[in-house]
């Protein structure tokens, strides 16, 4: 602001002495502790800072092509071309885009789902999968304040943060069996049986994060049956539909089994990976209710939680999703592209296992191809992971989780060799 000297002097007098700019004010926030770094995102930060030309990032769960580059799907580019200049950027309703929700429900519940026809599903657009889980957790806290959530061991680390911030008490249930690097089915069933009737369970619909270990179809049926006996509430987190097997219908099998068995599920959907819309934050939360009236009531309450959090969800990602899924040709293209991504990952699993076998590693690496989805739980210890980073510039989370999306034909041999080096018995 331009100001005469006199005016400045008057202002100075009125205000009182200005604090010298260089001296810090005793801060009201001086006591604030520096927060611990996010373990997953910290890996990428460290990777970016590494100058080594051989470095490999198998840390964060974002898809990469065979050149290690991020991908924007063709169907997404085409959708964006159609969207540009076509909308007025007005607020979406609190519950989000109706079209996007409709398409999302068809994807999760089935094109011809009677629940959709009967309007029994309360559904809102959310800030990707995180937002869907958080909205459900807040809703659970508000309307079933005595309930708690059972979370698999292990799980995506942020699940714990979400239900903690929603102030819903957590328990864990057995899931991963380190000895087989597969499912601890007996432990899982035991925990389901021993949980108090009517407990809430968080289930990964497919491509479990971080282990890649999914129940078989038969196991899912048994789990569903036990849930029925115990009256448990199944909440599905589906972040990888289409991305796991390459076929969205197949990846929704667990959900469809539970629906057939009469469970009234909750479901969080994300388009971050399967449509490559990561930063657009596109997702959906749905809850299957008794009837249309109840669905209307539940949806209205979900909106009441969204309103003081962000008012209404972002538009752009929703437009992309509804444009693609609402156009048969674009949807066909999307299905092709999502299968392409899944196939590449399945191919890399095979290649990594074969490379390790070629190196005559005495350990079993069957789990690499038994597991499914973006992640492989290698079974490596934190110390072994540290060696991978220090000696080979390979970056992954210390729980031994490898993001297969970061593996390419160019680096798979190097990766196999490094893993062999740090795991071979002396």
């Amino acid at each position: 602001m331009a100001m005469s000297r006199a005016a400045a002097a008057i202002r100075q007098r009125r205000r009182g002495p200005l604090l010298p700019a260089s001296r810090s004010v005793a801060s009201l926030f001086g006591h604030v502790e520096p927060a611990a770094k996010d373990p997953i995102l910290g890996v990428t930060e460290a990777f970016l800072a590494d100058p080594s030309p051989e470095k490999v990032n198998v840390g964060v769960g974002a898809y990469r092509d065979d050149n290690g580059k991020p991908v924007v799907l063709e169907c997404v580019r085409e959708a964006e071309r159609r969207i540009a200049g076509s909308t007025n950027m007005e607020y979406l309703p609190m519950g989000g885009s109706a079209k996007m929700i409709d398409e999302s429900l068809k994807l999760a519940y089935g094109e011809d789902s009677e629940f959709i026809k009967d309007k029994r599903i309360a559904a809102v657009q959310t800030l990707s999968g995180t937002g869907a889980c958080r909205l459900f957790a807040d809703f659970q806290k508000r309307f079933l304040p005595d309930s708690q959530i059972y979370i698999p061991t292990p799980t995506w680390a942020n699940h714990h943060n979400i239900w903690r911030d929603a102030q819903v008490p957590q328990r864990t249930f057995g899931y991963y069996y380190p000895d087989t690097k597969g499912l601890d089915f007996a432990g899982l069933m035991n925990d389901i049986k021993n949980a108090p009737d009517g407990s809430f369970f968080l289930l990964h619909a497919c491509a479990h994060n971080p282990t890649g270990v999914d129940p078989s179809e038969e196991q899912w049926r048994e789990i569903s049956h036990q849930f029925k006996l115990k009256n448990h509430f199944p909440f599905f987190d589906m972040a990888y539909q289409g991305f796991a097997s390459g076929d969205p219908e197949r990846d929704a099998k667990a959900i469809r089994i539970f629906l057939e068995d009469g469970h009234q599920i909750g479901c969080a959907q994300s388009y971050a990976k399967n449509m490559g819309l990561y930063g657009q934050r596109a997702g959906c939360l749905s809850i299957l209710c008794d009837d249309e009236m109840q669905a209307v009531a539940v949806k209205s309450q979900l909106q009441q939680i969204a309103r003081p959090m962000y008012s209404n969800p972002p538009l752009h990602g929703a437009l992309i999703v509804s444009t693609i899924l609402g156009d048969p040709a674009l949807k066909t293209l999307w299905l092709k592209e999502v299968k392409g991504m899944a196939d590449r990952i399945i191919g890399m699993r095979k290649a990594l296992k074969e490379n390790l076998e070629k190196l005559s590693s005495p350990l079993s690496w069957e789990h690499i191809t038994n597991q499914i989805g973006m992640f492989c739980y290698s079974g490596m210890t934190p110390e072994q992971v540290d060696r991978l980073t220090k000696e080979f510039h390979i970056y992954m989370t210390r729980n031994g989780r490898i993001s297969m999306a970061g593996v390419t034909t160019g680096n798979v041999a190097y990766l196999a060799n490094a893993i062999h080096e740090v795991t071979k018995p002396n």
């Binding site: 602001m1 927060a35 991020p70 909106q303």
Partner: protein, 452 residues
Amino acid sequence: MPTANERAAHPRLSTLLRHLLPSSPRTSPATATSADSLQASPTMAASSASVFAAVPQGPEDPILGVTVAFKKDPSPVKVNLGVGAYRTEEGKPLVLNVVKRAEALLLQNQSRIKEYLPITGLADFNKLSAKLIFGADSPAIQENRVATVQCLSGTGSLRVGGEFLARHYHERTIYIPNPTWGNHPKIFTLAGLTVRTYRYYDPATRGLDFQGLLEDLSSAPSGAIILLHACAHNPTGVDPTVDQWEQIRQLMRSKALLPFFDSAYQGFASGSLDKDAQSVRMFVADGGELLMAQSYAKNMGLYGERVGALSIVCGSADVAVKVESQLKLVIRPMYSNPPLHGASIVATILSDRGMFDEWTKELKGMADRIISMRQQLFDALKTRGTPGDWSHIIKQIGMFTFTGLNSDQVAFMRQEFHIYMTSDGRISMAGLSSRTVPHLADAIDAAVTKLK
């Protein structure tokens, strides 16, 4: 009746049964047996009642309810003065030309990807947003004392700021003006703060109750958080003068009251970005700390893209770093990281001199149209000799005018003249045009003379 095992093996049978058996309330979890085989019976249908059966219908949003009613009205002369989104003279929503240009640039750039933003959002966007509100030469910025995180428009910025304060600040009470935007109390309550009010609007003058404001801030406990509308107060349109702001600032600093600014209309109020940021910059200039929630919904017309930023001006650079790290812990379990599209548009515009200038012109155009509507409405009421002092229409600033009409008069105007506004008498000037001003003036005139 088939056993549970049989039913599990025959899902179709299960589904059929569900349709045949009457559904009934699920037996309470405490009494349900955990027998290994489920005894099928009419009172335990395959689809037991939902655990959420008791969830009541939520209340209608009063502001959005106005638009719902407006849409239902078949009258050709209806006018919607409810929701606060800008409309052109033709009554249409507006996407700024510079926004379209920015979007086109983003689209053309084939190397652009859609990866996750960091938890704190787009770095360029954050820096540019801080400069926009605090001034490029702000010492707080030069000294790295500002922690800025991209948030979901104004709402998201307020919520994240509120949550941060509830966790890390010693005072859990926030004072909000009376009246204020309907969503403010809900945001802060859910964030974990206790909400109180301070006097703000004087119905007698339809202006600022400055004495009441000073008294209430004086009696607030030391350290309390004070929500301040940076400019264009919503819903009243009544802002303190520069002198009054200075008095508020001195009082607040003397009592160590923590300012939390909500800036939803920078540039939209007066037409000048710097002028509309004056109140905020006065507080920053004294070296003290504050929170600032910024929204680009109105001033860039980016409503649905949810673009905003929360800045916390801290006492030192060290504190700013620690504060930012704690803000991440609030954001991560809420939505992980913010949406990319809107922030990219803003960063594109703010970082290009030509586009920035184009934006300020279009912004001034919107502000000028609103100011012109105020003048036209005032003149129209004067011409009609409508009883009462209507000078507040031109004294108030921003998108909204607090007309002073009571709820009976508001209902009358809806019924007889098909004019839609919220029952507190707030009208959105952006919903007016030269064509509809006479109709609104007639309606106000009739309401005021027929009803008291």
